[in-house]
């Protein structure tokens, strides 16, 4: 770590004022230290020389002591405040960066690790901002002043201190180099250990099924022991710099004491100066010692925030991608127009993940007023098509809404009133329900500014989530990630959430990804009936499903093959579907 990480100061700009104030406090405190040492040594010396009246000195001493303690309190408060503000600023920036990085970025990360970085990971910066940086400022200000005072009173002691002082940073840099790589490894290990322990706890039921739970005790112990061993390896080196620091400080005190003593014996020096120098010499080392003591903790903190900087940098680079996919955001059509003529046209859609194509040149058309179902084997890219519709992934080709709803345009050919699909046009429920710690009702009205209880009830009913089931009552409070609901219940609440949005905002398109995978046939049938009502209202309803019931109910089935091709099939028993007969050629 560099003494001062410029990125931290840049991202935490709001904290700068606090550090400036801290410098002023530090100067005042240095003055107190000098005054205290002088008052104590002169009192003792005067007493030794037989001058008994020391009253005014004692009063002055108490006054200095009082002032010093007030300064201590102010410095603590000031640096804590600076640290908190700096941390909060960083945290908010990262939280805002996450949406820019987007869901596809997050899917490559461990959500627990990202959460840890944002919470306890950033807390590691406390030492940096609250302890290290203020001491660094103090060192820069107080140490030269104290050394100058030493020189002023006793040249020889000044030289001793001046020569030993630089040893500290030199040692620290040398040892720092040696430990730097080891520290990086340790941080990686710490992350692995923390998510590894959680992994074991979360997989406990699976481990129990296989009779492996008890065995994990050995594993946890060995992983923790490995962590201890590797950390101790780093600490043996890290603490060496502390050792060098302590040694330099205490040896220089010893050197000053011995040399002062010898010069006193020969009569070259007065006792007053000798005592004063003895009191002041350790103080000259104190700020630097504090910096050294905090250095490794601070470096760990900065190391821990490398991930944060990576996210911030990534967000900067990721903007173009995400914005590109989202620029249709603001152009959502008027929500209440008659939607019956809308068509969702996907043309030549290609989605790439790294070098692999998840979807290649997929084209399809989804008309309003009919239930469209996308089918295909696992891994064929169905979910990637949905992600592209939502603008979660960069894609090639186009996804457009055609026919904006004016009935005079009924005969308008495709393309005439086409505009890119915006996120505001889409209501969606994914494979993972993604519920949050809130009531069922709050989950359903997610993103709504004026939640309507009546609409909640309706959405839950359409999603077949209105059984006399207390878990699905709008007032039922769920835990983090929707804990407290079964898979099927969570799935229906997620579908209700999408339906609520579609109804409240008048979204043209409702996209559901495997909405019934955890439902029994009766409930699934009710869900299909509910979706039928929305279809009848003229919504474009696209369901990704492998379930027979959905396929049977669909007016339009789009089959996605392996990532090579896609073709549409029209069920024989679907007469009168407006676009059903249209075959979309691929390749």
């Amino acid at each position: 770590m560099k003494p001062v990480d410029p990125r931290l100061l840049r991202y935490a700009g709001a904290a700068r004022a606090f550090f400036g104030f801290g410098a002023v406090l530090g100067l005042a405190q240095t003055a107190c230290i000098v005054a205290f040492a002088w008052l104590v040594s002169s009192s003792v010396v005067d007493a030794l020389h037989g001058a008994t009246p020391f009253g005014w000195r004692l009063v002055a001493l108490v006054a200095v002591v009082l002032l010093r303690s007030v300064l201590v309190w102010m410095m603590e408060w000031n640096s804590a405040r600076g640290a908190t503000i700096a941390k909060s600023q960083l945290r908010q920036q990262v939280l805002r960066a996450l949406p820019r990085l987007g869901p596809s970025w997050l899917s490559t990360r461990s959500s627990a690790a990202v959460t840890t970085t944002l919470t306890t990971g950033l807390d590691a910066l406390d030492v940096y901002f609250a302890r290290y940086l203020p001491q660094l400022i103090l060192t820069a200000l107080a140490t030269p002043i104290l050394v100058a005072v030493l020189f002023l009173f006793d040249f020889a002691s000044g030289i001793t201190v001046l020569l030993t002082l630089p040893l500290i940073p030199v040692f620290m840099i040398l040892i720092g180099w040696a430990t730097q790589t080891a520290q990086k490894e340790q941080w990686l290990k710490l992350g692995r250990l923390s998510s590894g322990f959680l992994d074991v706890v979360e997989g406990l039921s699976t481990l129990k099924v296989f009779g492996r739970a008890d065995r994990q005790v050995t594993r946890i112990r060995s992983v923790t022991e490995e962590y201890r061993a590797s950390t101790m390896k780093v600490l043996r080196l890290s603490f060496l710099s502390g050792f060098a620091l302590e040694l330099a400080a205490s040896l220089s005190v010893a050197l000053v004491a011995v040399s002062v003593g010898l010069r006193l014996v020969s009569g070259d020096l007065g006792l007053g100066v000798g005592l004063f120098v003895l009191l002041l010499a350790p103080e000259a080392f104190l700020p630097l010692r504090q910096v050294g003591a905090q250095f490794h903790a601070a470096a760990d903190g900065v190391e821990a925030t490398e991930e944060v900087f990576a996210m911030l940098a990534g967000a900067g680079a990721g903007v173009a991608v995400a914005e590109g996919a989202r620029d249709a955001d603001g152009t959502a059509g008027s929500p209440t127009g008659s939607r019956a003529d809308g068509r969702l046209v996907v043309n030549d859609l290609t989605v790439m993940y790294a070098d692999t194509a998840a979807v290649r040149r997929f084209s399809a058309e989804f008309a309003a007023g009919q239930l469209s179902v996308i089918v295909g084997p696992s891994g064929a890219g169905k979910s990637s098509i949905v992600a592209a519709m939502l603008g979660f992934v960069p894609f090639g080709g186009s996804i457009e809404l055609v026919g904006s709803g004016d009935s005079s345009e009924r005969k308008a050919s495709m393309g005439l009133t086409a505009r890119p699909l915006g996120r505001a046009d889409v209501a969606w429920a994914g494979q993972v329900p993604g519920l949050m710690a809130a009531t069922v009702g709050e989950n359903v009205t997610l993103g709504s500014e004026h939640p309507s209880p009546a609409l909640v009830t309706r959405a839950l009913a359409l999603a077949a989530a209105d059984a006399p089931d207390p878990a699905l009552a709008p007032s039922n409070r769920l835990g983090v990630n929707g804990a407290g609901l079964s898979g099927g219940q969570a799935q229906r609440v997620a579908v209700a959430r999408a339906i609520y949005r579609a109804l409240e905002r008048g979204c043209r398109v409702l996209v559901l990804d495997e909405p019934s995978s955890a439902l029994d046939r009766e409930t699934e049938a009710r869900l299909i009936a509910g979706l039928g009502q929305l279809v009848a209202d003229g919504m474009v309803v696209v369901v990704v499903s492998h379930r027979e019931a959905f396929r049977a109910a669909a007016a339009h089935v789009v089959r996605v093959g392996a990532p090579i091709a896609a073709r549409t099939v029209t069920p024989a028993a679907a007469p009168g579907t407006p676009t059903g007969t249209r075959r979309i050629a691929v390749r």
Binding site: L61, R68, W77, Q92, V253
Partner: protein
């Protein structure tokens, strides 16, 4: 688990802790002694005595200077190492207590909270020995020693120092208590809240984006964070006040030493001159007054002591945080099992003595009379590895006698008591499997593993008046105390293919959890004629395997995700199993067995996760297998194929209980159970 138990777990044993403590005390004593000796040296030197008189002081100054740094270094190393050792014990201790609860006793524990508890709080507990016990003990020892030394020189100054130190102790901890007790109490739950909200935000980022709820969520998060910030600052103010109080008392102690010391010195000088004697060399403690060097010592010692004593209020603050974390850890792990969860026998004492390779960790004292199924050697040895050639022989079990603790070997050389599972569980495990492998020799080794293991026959299962309910903590689906299953009558003969149907909430998963003893039951549930209640749950689970609805995929590679089901399996075995579940091509595409599967299987689709779970079931070779919705996320055109594969892979000898809401071809099942809605 009580808070005291957690704290006891967190404090390393005395044997580990003592070396660090002793060295720590030596280090701080050296620090005080360095300043005292230096002060003495200088003041004594001012009298210009022969240099010889100073040599001991000079040596002392140098020795203490070296000692301070060296002891401090050793102290830090020793105490950190001891704290880490304690951490391992703590993690293990907590995990052990989670084992019997999982999964149904833990259902209501929120995940973000679990994260914050087990990672944050456990790490926090490491501070108990490091930042609480060690600094407190060291400071008190050094303070007492210094007070005694000063008291010997000048009793009044000693008393003043003692008063100042005692006041600093009281005031520091009291002020600390006043100002930050509330902040500390609020801080940990607020941190947990913030972590929960952050986790919801991170996990639900796609949902929040799609629902335009990002800004509202960010505002919520900012509000929670500013509450957290306020509490943090309140605590900082408390810590600051503490440091200020200590600084004040330190200065006052020096002033007091001057106040008492200077008159005492004057008195000493007067007494000395009155006696007409020159003070002899050394620390001349006179009956009335003190010498110059002694004055310097009593004035400077308080400064050095207080520098060390500054750690006391900090230790008090650390203690409160440690205690709060310990309380939360304790509450996460209840003392008693809910009655709905079957109790596990204590196993930790046994684990240590059982070699790591044995995977059935619960020896039972006496062999249990489980009927031993002897396989019909013909289908087993004739079974080709491909599903096409497999026989569908159902219900041809032959029960012969009862099992002893030793595996029996069929004429074909196939180990019947394979893994000791189901029969003579006491000695079971991979060790016997390995033994059997060694016995059967190269011939068996040439055969694919799947072929070798398909020799086990399932015990019959009888359910009479079976009922079950979920613990009150897991009341997501049912009201507490409401039975999820009631009065179930069912016979599952060996080798049956049972299909369990029914709407959501009808108790299908409850039944599965009862069968693997995740949930306690009422009524009767016998396995091979033995009441399941009389067996250890782990024994039952060695006979009945459950493929969960959402199989857990560990954040590791494919090999590790399979291998724990059968640790003796070779890579070829694993690939063969992957082929069986139609995952081979997929796996090879991703780099084979080294392919990483991501956190909670984030890099695999639902269907692939199911197939991996199936592969594990096949590897583990349970005589009875329960599949909870295995086709939930599998293509319709592959469902039937998968079910056929799966039932064939299970072999004719194995009992399969299939929970499904999709239609299963009639030819594949021998028995159907339809569950209705229970309760409301």
């Amino acid at each position: 688990m009580r808070t005291a138990d957690v704290l006891r777990l967190a404090q390393p044993r005395w044997r580990l802790f003592a070396p660090g403590l002793i060295v720590g005390v030596l280090g701080t004593v050296s620090a005080v002694a360095l300043l005292a000796t230096s002060a003495y040296l200088i003041t004594r030197a001012a009298d210009q005595p022969p240099i010889l008189y100073l040599s001991i002081a000079i040596v002392g100054v140098r020795a203490f200077a070296l000692g301070r740094a060296t002891f401090r270094y050793l102290d830090r190393l020793l105490s950190h190492s001891a704290a880490f050792r304690g951490l391992a014990e703590l993690r293990v201790g907590i995990f052990r207590r989670l084992i019997p609860l999982a999964p149904d006793g833990l259902a209501q524990t929120r995940r973000g909270d679990l994260l914050s508890r087990l990672v944050g709080d456990v790490d926090e507990l490491q501070n108990l020995p490091l930042r609480v016990v060690q600094p407190l003990v060291t400071a008190v020892v050094v303070a007492v020693a210094s007070v005694i030394v000063v008291w010997i020189i000048l009793p009044s100054a000693g008393i003043a120092l003692a008063v100042a130190l005692a006041l600093a102790m009281l005031l520091g901890t009291l002020v600390n208590l006043r100002l930050s007790a509330r902040a500390d109490r609020d801080l940990a739950p607020q941190r947990a809240d913030f972590a929960d909200q952050t986790l919801d935000f991170v996990v639900g980022l796609d949902v929040l984006t799609a629902f335009d709820a990002l800004d509202a969520r960010l505002a919520d998060l900012a509000r929670t964070e500013s509450r957290l910030t306020r509490s943090t600052l309140a605590r900082a103010a408390g810590a600051g006040a503490t440091a200020a109080a200590v600084s004040l008392l330190s200065g006052l102690a020096t002033a007091a030493a001057l106040w008492f010391g200077i008159p005492a010195f004057a008195a000493g000088v007067a007494a000395a001159s009155a006696a007409g004697a020159r003070a002899t060399a050394g620390t001349g403690v006179l009956s009335i007054g003190i010498s110059g060097p002694a004055l310097a010592v009593i004035v400077l010692v308080p400064m050095a002591v207080f520098e060390i004593f500054g750690a006391v209020p900090l230790a008090a603050g650390a203690w409160r945080q440690v205690r709060a974390s310990a309380t939360r850890v304790a509450s996460a792990v209840p003392d008693t099992l809910p009655p709905e969860i079957p109790a596990e026998p204590r196993v930790d004492t046994l684990i240590a003595s059982v070699p790591a390779s044995i995977h059935v960790p619960v020896p039972i004292p006496a062999p249990i009379p489980v009927p031993v199924p002897i396989p019909d050697p013909v289908p087993a040895s004739a079974a080709a590895p491909t599903s096409a050639a497999r026989h569908h022989e159902i219900g041809s079990a032959k029960f012969v006698g009862t099992a002893g603790p030793h595996p029996q070997t069929s004429p074909s050389g196939i180990d019947v008591g394979l893994g000791g599972v189901g029969v003579g569980v006491g000695r079971g495990g991979a060790a016997e499997f390995a033994e059997a492998e060694a016995r059967t020799g190269a011939r068996a080794r040439d055969e694919p593993l799947l072929q070798r293991v398909e020799a086990r026959r399932a015990p019959a299962i009888e359910l009479r008046g079976l009922g079950a309910s979920w613990p009150a903590r897991a009341t997501g689906q049912l009201r507490p105390g409401q039975p999820a299953l009631r009065g179930l009558e069912l016979s599952i003969p060996s080798g049956a293919r049972l299909l369990v149907e029914g709407p959501s909430g009808s108790g299908k998963t409850t039944l599965a959890h009862v069968l693997v003893r995740f949930l306690e039951y009422s009524g009767s549930f016998t396995i091979g004629g033995v009441e399941a209640r009389t067996l250890a749950p782990a024994q039952v689970r060695s006979m009945i395997g459950l493929c969960e609805q959402n199989p857990y995929i560990f954040d590791a590679n494919l090999r590790q995700n399979l291998l724990f089901a059968r640790e003796t399996a070779s890579d070829d075995d694993l690939l063969a199993v992957l082929d069986r579940v139609a995952l081979l091509d997929w796996a090879l595409e991703r780099g084979g067995l080294d392919a990483r599967l991501g956190e909670r299987g984030s890099l695999v689709s639902g269907g692939q996760a199911q197939r991996i779970a199936l592969a594990r079931m096949l590897l583990a070779d349970f005589p009875v297998v329960i599949f909870d919705e295995p086709t939930a996320n599998v293509d319709p055109d592959r469902v039937e194929r998968l079910l056929v594969d799966l039932l064939e892979a299970a072999g004719p000898e194995r009992t399969v209980i299939l929970i499904s809401h999709t239609d299963v071809p009639a030819a594949l099942v021998t028995q159907r159970l339809r569950l209705g809605t229970v309760g409301w």
